[in-house]
């Protein structure tokens, strides 16, 4: 429970016994029998010696730096757990919501890449959700969990911010990303709503084996899936439309969407073609995910130095009074 900054000082504790061996302030009396024996004096001697010992011990303990280490306590809050899987592939470097080149630009459009836009909205999202736990998956052709689920806001914000820097890597492997994201919840007790937030601009055709694997994992671990799909082809929707372009029928995005819909676990797709749609998607997830969640709160390390200092103060105060009284008595005795 109690830890020490400098435990080595505890070896000095025997010094507290010094008062019992010291006779510095005693008067040598020629004949012991001349001393009056009263019980009060004997008691006071014992008391003062004990107090001196205690004062030395308390000061030593205070110097050793007692503290209660950082602790985790479980509290119930409103929130959810999120694993963010942000596509780091090359295509995410393209400008977000860019009008096709063969149209006249009627409205000004921003020239920021899909990755920076997603990063900005994610930062906003994380900042708005103080009690959530976040994990982060970096994925491209390979997925790596770079930040396991953590309550540390600074760390997750810094990781998201870093995701916006530099150029993209290679291609996208969504299956890898999702399995990796699901694995972050492995071995964790169920605390509340678990979500994977997949942000990507491409789809992928999964084979039957991968499909069953994913389906089982998500169901076993009770994970909800959100997919913010950054539209690459203007006008194409994930769901089939009446007036569909024939070219869109076999788009991997659509195949993936169909598979996600067939999952037994909750799934929702958001198609972001503009900044407004992206913001709306983030808002909607924010709104949906307020469920009871067991969160671990970190109680910071608490110093217990003052406790020992007060003890030392108390002992010293009594000792000083006794000393001053003795001093005054001796002074009077010698003056006479």
């Amino acid at each position: 429970m109690l830890s020490w900054e400098l435990p080595i000082l505890l070896w000095l504790l025997p010094l507290a016994l010094l008062p019992w061996f010291s006779h510095n302030t005693e008067k040598t009396v020629a004949w012991q029998a001349m001393l009056p024996h009263d019980r009060l004096s004997q008691f006071l001697t014992l008391l003062l010696k004990s107090l001196s010992s205690l004062a030395i011990a308390a000061l030593l303990l205070a110097l050793a730096g007692p503290f209660i280490p950082e602790r985790l306590v479980e509290r119930s809050r409103q929130g959810a757990e999120f694993v963010i899987a942000l596509d780091r592939s090359r295509s995410m470097d393209d400008i977000f919501a860019r009008p096709p080149r063969n149209t006249l630009p009627i409205e000004a459009f921003s020239t920021r890449s899909k990755r920076t836009v997603s990063g900005d909205y994610l930062l906003e999202f994380v900042k708005r959700r103080p009690d959530d736990r976040f994990g982060y998956i970096l994925f491209s052709t390979r997925a790596t969990e770079i930040l396991p689920l953590s309550y540390n806001r600074d760390a997750i914000l810094a990781t998201i911010a870093a995701g916006g820097l530099g150029k993209g890597l290679s291609k996208t492997d969504i299956f890898q990303a999702l399995s990796k994201a699901a694995s972050l919840f492995e071995g964790e007790p169920y605390r509340g709503s678990r979500n994977i937030l997949l942000i990507s601009d491409g789809g992928e055709i999964l084979d039957a084996d991968e499909k069953t694997q994913l389906q089982r994992r998500l169901a076993d671990m009770r994970i909800n899936l959100y997919w913010i799909y950054l539209r690459t082809v203007r006008g194409m929707t994930l769901d089939e439309q009446e007036d569909d372009n024939l070219l869109w029928l076999d788009m991997p995005e659509r195949k993936l969407h169909t598979f996600f819909k067939s999952l037994n676990t909750p799934y929702q797709a958001f198609e972001a073609g503009s900044l407004k749609e992206f913001a709306a998607a983030i808002d909607e997830i924010h709104r949906q995910q307020y469920q009871p969640l067991i969160v671990e709160e970190r109680l910071p390390k608490q110093s217990r130095v003052n406790l020992f200092l007060y003890l030392a103060l108390l002992c010293c105060a009594v000792l000083v009074m006794a000393r001053l009284y003795t001093g005054w008595g001796v002074y009077r005795a010698y003056r006479q």
Partner: protein, 311 residues
């Protein structure tokens, strides 16, 4: 020295009073403000294949260069003053990929080490190792971070494909614009490099015919003094100190070869960085309590064992 009984009593009373006042000071003296110098550092760890060579020394054991780099970085975090910021990046192929922007090193120590532990060869997205270009990209990206961090680039300096000194990749930035330290890791001897497959698992070693032994551009030139036949040793790796020193000079970095104490490295980082002062509360309690303790002990030391005090 002999003191009379009366003097001893008076002296004791005075000492104890001073001790009491000191204990009070330890309790109630307001904290004083003190400035510490803090820095922002971005640790870039080389995760290319050559980092798997086991020729770095850690606690007397031979470990892989990557293990050493990770452990050394972790210890450097511990040696950085609270308030300093540290970020993490990996280097593979020809670029540095920043994974976490600098965060306060004490509060986020756990997350930093968690991320650091994940660094292993399977994160590499390609199987080449172009150190100088990676340093350049790290510098470019550091400029986008506010405030600009000092780059701590931990690498063995093994360039694959190799580069000819006269055809050094061009550095567009200004040397010294971004401060940094290159930390060299690895031993002196040329050792075979473990080869990783697509999944990042180690499968045997790179063979002499698996790698290029000459700069691609140099080999295309008819220039004979550039194409001097050399020993074919590019499938072996050691710490390329001279190359790293040249590279450090080019970009205005410091070069530290196989440091032994993380504290020393932190000092170097602090020296090259544009540190900013941060005011911290400094509690003087330890001084007061310590002196009070010394005084009280002075009263009770058994002088009688050494000198005669009775009278």
């Amino acid at each position: 020295m002999r003191l009379s009984y009366q003097k001893r009593i008076t002296l004791t009373a005075i000492i104890m009073t001073v001790a009491l006042i000191l204990v009070m000071a330890a309790l109630w003296m307001p904290h004083i403000k003190r400035d510490v110098k803090i820095m922002d550092a971005l640790f870039v760890i080389d995760i290319t294949d050559s980092m798997n060579v086991e020729d770095a020394t850690l606690n007397g054991d031979k470990v892989s260069r990557l293990t050493w780099a990770k452990e050394f970085t972790r210890r450097a975090f511990l040696d950085m003053p609270c308030g300093a910021h540290a970020g993490l990046a990996i280097f593979s192929e020809a670029r540095s990929l920043i994974l976490m922007n600098p965060v306060e090193v004490c509060a986020s120590y756990h997350d930093l080490t968690q991320m650091l532990n994940k660094f292993d060869p399977h994160m590499a997205w390609a199987r080449s190792s172009e150190v100088s270009k990676a340093v350049y990209t790290a510098i470019r990206q550091a400029k986008e971070i506010e405030p600009e961090p000092t780059i701590v680039f931990v690498t063995d300096g093994h360039e694959s494909p190799p580069i000819n000194e006269s055809l050094f990749p061009r550095f567009d930035g200004k040397p010294g614009e971004i401060h940094g330290v290159i930390v060299g890791v690895g031993g002196e001897d040329l050792l075979p490099i473990p080869k990783t497959n697509e999944e990042g698992e180690i499968e045997g070693f790179w063979d002499v015919n698996d790698v290029m032994h000459q700069d691609v551009y140099a080999s295309l030139r008819a220039d004979t003094n550039m194409n001097v036949p050399q020993a074919r040793t590019e499938h072996l790796s050691s710490q390329k100190k001279s190359h790293l020193r040249t590279l450090a000079d080019r970009v205005g970095f410091e070069f530290v070869s196989s440091p032994t104490k993380p504290g020393k490295l932190v000092d170097v980082i602090s020296k090259v960085s544009e540190t900013r002062p941060q005011t911290i509360d400094y509690d003087l309690y330890a001084w007061f309590a310590g002196i009070a303790l010394a005084l009280i002990l002075l009263v009770y030391l058994p002088y009688g064992w050494f000198i005669r005090t009775d009278d």
